[in-house]
Symmetry: none
Subunit: 204 residues, 4 copies
DNA sequence: GATGAATGAGGATTCATTCAT
DNA sequence: TATGAATGAATCCTCATTCAT
């Protein structure tokens, strides 16, 4: 997790301070992920981080503030994971498949990220909305690029982007977060989803 | 909202009791919808319902209990809305279009339902999961039926069902809950989504 | 102490509630009087009142709120004590003597009142100012009445009223609150102060 | 404000140290004057002084300590202001008028001094009491001197001194600290108060 | 059934003070 | 001396739940 853009005015000025801040962010990710925002307590976070209770307020103004910082961080991390999974030279459909596969793998690895971003709908709605609108825009752009390249239909827009995003998020919920033994591999899930994009679901 | 099947163990025995119960459920839907589970208080619910604080516990064992009852109610309501929107005699693809359109219209009318079910992920995870698994199964069945009828590809399963469900939910979020002025009509959104199902997004 | 005009929206509706409210006010007067506003704690107040911590918030919104209520109460009590000590039929100078004597006796009996009102300068400045301005006006009126009756000079106004009020307050501080063994009786103090008003301090 | 006699045990040894100490005292006067003792924080004081938080404890043992140092300073300053306003060769009554006028002018110029000394009643009661007892003694002496000179009645003592002090303090509160547009000039206030001392308030 | 007062565990937050650099 | 991070006791306040009437 790298620190996001949303900075409080409480930047550490020493190396020691930077380490403490990082310990707090990591501990908070664990607590929020394990117990959710409301059942996580500052004292549990500081205990997990191994620092004194009061030290929390050296770096964050409130419980909300660290949650928001975390959502920003994780929102960035999700986007980077998707981007890192993509080969820009690939075809538009292949890019979508790679993006979904990257997301599935990332979600399986970082289940707490999924949970924290989801809970932002209630704790930090603005950031939650921004998260999905940003991703929605990015997919919209990819669709437009694919249309320009001739890979995709030329009339694709925001509606299609949100449809794809919803597909991806729910497949992540079902096959990464709630994964069970006899589920198919992430590759299979990504391929089947990609097949919808390629051919639809109508009879061949 | 009508009272669903998940009943607390505190059934009202008089007509007066039934009215109080109804007032509490409606008030709770409003409070949970407006403020979320944690920021809604029992006293706010009873105040909105116009009954005394203590009366709450005549009908529900706890704050969680009324939330769960509400989630059950609303889960049923969502499913009924989709079912009511469907013409069983239509083609499989048309049925999916109708289901999405029904959902979009329902969500726009009952935004608090969307919010409450979403928050169940954190407050009542079992119910949340059951809600989507039930819907997922129903869609899976529709896809199988469509395959049998020859309307759809014969190899569609749970993955495709969850992909469709995710599409629907996110289009509901974007175009019903977060609807803005210059968004297209629900019909347009449903048609574009249906077009993905019909043809995919590849070049014609 | 009777309850003042500054009412929160948390009026008790039962007799039991009225008793609890009274216990809290009395306990708060004791704690604020003994330890001052900042060193008094809600838990000490409720412990002294013999009620649970949470019960405090059934009747008051905050620590500030009960302090303000108390200041109002005590401000009223001080004014009533002065009024009760006065014989309206007496001469203007005699009335001033009686008012001071009444105040000295009241302050000696209720040292916590003196302290609480004084601390209001920092905790509830508006009420503090209102307290003294009200008393100042009342003295101004008495001086005007005395002037009309021919007992006093006709040119007395607010300045003289505040001068008299200051005299009284400081004599109360020195001879009621800080009283020590070999101080004269309250009657002597009141008489000597009255003598200033009657003749000034110039050589006879 | 100059540093008074009450020194903490932490004397600066360098010129730089002396400057830092001065900055802290000035900042503390501002913070305590603006927010009161309890709402002023060490970190606000050091921020205002432009020094690091930890530097505070190089010069003062505690928050109380700097407050006490300030009260001592200011108590001295008040007394010096009164003394400086007095012409010792004047008549006793004239001296009292000058003392009051000096105090009114000083209070108007240094409202924070008034507030800090007043709050000492709760934070540093010993110093508060000492402050007024010292002034009370000084006035008592002036009255005795006036009696000896034949300017004043020969039977004036502590009671009269405290009465005069109370007058002065309350006239300062009303016409210096709470001064408003249409109040008379300090000279008028001082003259009217002096007139009470000269003739009392009885009919001419 | 209805009422509303009483309860107290729980948690966020503050801030004076200490300490390592 | 100066710095600023670290500490943790202290306290206000919330609110789900219980209970007497």
């Amino acid at each position: 997790m790298t620190q996001g853009d949303t900075r409080s005015d409480k930047q550490p000025r020493t190396e020691r301070g930077r380490r403490t801040l990082r310990k707090l962010l990591d501990a908070a990710a664990g607590e929020f992920g394990d117990h959710g925002f409301h059942d996580a307590s500052i004292s549990a976070i500081t205990a997990r981080a191994g620092v004194a209770l009061g030290s929390f307020y050296t770096y964050f103004d409130s419980k909300d503030a660290i949650f928001r910082a975390l959502v920003s961080d994780m929102s960035d991390a999700v986007k980077q994971a998707a981007r890192a999974a993509i080969d820009p030279a690939a075809s538009a459909l292949e890019i979508e498949r790679q993006a979904l596969l990257g997301f599935l793998n990332f979600a399986a690895e970082h289940k707490e990220v999924y949970r924290i971003i989801d809970e932002a709908e209630f704790v930090d709605p603005a950031n939650y909305r921004a998260h999905y609108e940003t991703i929605g825009k990015r997919i919209t752009e990819r669709l437009a690029t694919g249309g320009d390249k001739g890979d995709l239909r030329p009339d694709l827009g925001e509606v299609e982007a949100w449809a794809i995003m919803g597909m991806n998020v729910f497949l992540g919920l079902r096959y990464a977060i709630w994964a069970c033994e006899n589920d198919g591999a992430a590759e299979d899930v990504a391929s089947r989803a990609n097949s919808i994009l390629k051919r639809g679901i109508g009879r061949v």
